[in-house]
Amino acid sequence: MDITKLRLLGFKSFVDSTEVEILPGLTGIVGPNGCGKSNIIDAFQWLMGESRPSSMRASGMEDVIFAGVEGRSPRNFAEVTLEIDNSEQKAASEFNRHKEIEITRKITREIGSSYRLNGKEVRARDVQTLFADFSSGSNSSSLIKQGQIAELLNMKPKDRKKILEEAA
């Protein structure tokens, strides 16, 4: 599986549709404080099935929907889409028949979240199975959020061991 594109619409500060192309190798993201860099990481984690508002730096999950600023009205929904190239057919079994996989998570105010895989509605659990290898939980080795290393260093040995569970 290769991840090829991330698309945000109405997610946090990305009110307009934004495409992040993901190519092999190292892609750097730069910009001033508060411009929205960490919001891109939040979008990945949210799409992969994150259900705790606290790890989205939010008090309720609807806080990920664009809240409005001077000159721009608040949005009613937020949507994040990930495009995956599965031509080598390495995805988990029930998804392997697709050469291209497009996963979308959408949250609408007062209605809640829904997931779509290539246009068809699926459950949160199905998406979490697809991403089982990605492990995007808070102790994940493939998603290191801002300040997470300092947290790991301050952990007691018993809590620190949780990081090994991903490898087990």
């Binding site: 730069v30 493939s142 290393i149 260093l153």
Partner: protein, 160 residues
């Protein structure tokens, strides 16, 4: 569960030691299960010896040395089961210039070992010049984020 955890511990420990020595260009380190003989109950301690120094636990190292050691551990776990993407948000902030280069060397090593695509958020000019491509995020309109492409040669201009 016990068998799996012990196998994972042994594999991660081996990779961790290799990465630590590569990052510190010498010295040695190892993981230890402490506080209980049962791996399911035990805690994880990290013993480290940067080159030329005595062995200590990770908590007695300096801020930058701790970050480098933590990265060796995180990447060791990552390499045990590499995922197609890896995202890092300003992990290089406490590092000095020499260690920034070593951090980037390890990223290059991981690119060669796996098919993983990396997204690296940074403010550090040395890390920027080691990227294959760059995106900038700006708020031309206050509160509204926009993504723009950044020409890598322009980044080179920034530092020369």
């Amino acid at each position: 569960g016990r068998q799996k955890l012990t196998e994972a511990f042994t594999e991660v420990n081996r990779t961790f030691q290799t990465l630590f020595t590569r990052l510190f260009q010498g010295g040695k380190a190892e993981l230890a299960l402490v506080d209980s003989t049962d791996p399911l109950e035990a805690g994880l301690e990290i013993m480290c010896q940067p080159p030329g120094k005595k062995v200590t636990t990770i908590s007695l190292l300096s801020g930058g040395e701790q970050t480098l050691t933590a990265l060796a551990l995180i990447f060791a776990v990552f390499l045990s089961n590499p995922s197609p993407i890896c995202l890092m948000d300003e992990v290089d902030a406490p590092l000095d210039d020499a260690n920034i280069e070593k951090y980037c060397d390890i990223l290059d090593f991981m690119i060669n070992e796996t098919n993983t695509r990396f997204i690296v958020i940074t403010h550090n000019i040395i890390t920027i010049t080691r990227m294959d491509r760059l995106f900038g995020v700006t708020m031309m309109e206050p509160g509204v984020s926009q993504l723009v492409g950044v020409d890598l040669t322009r980044a080179e201009e920034l530092i020369n």
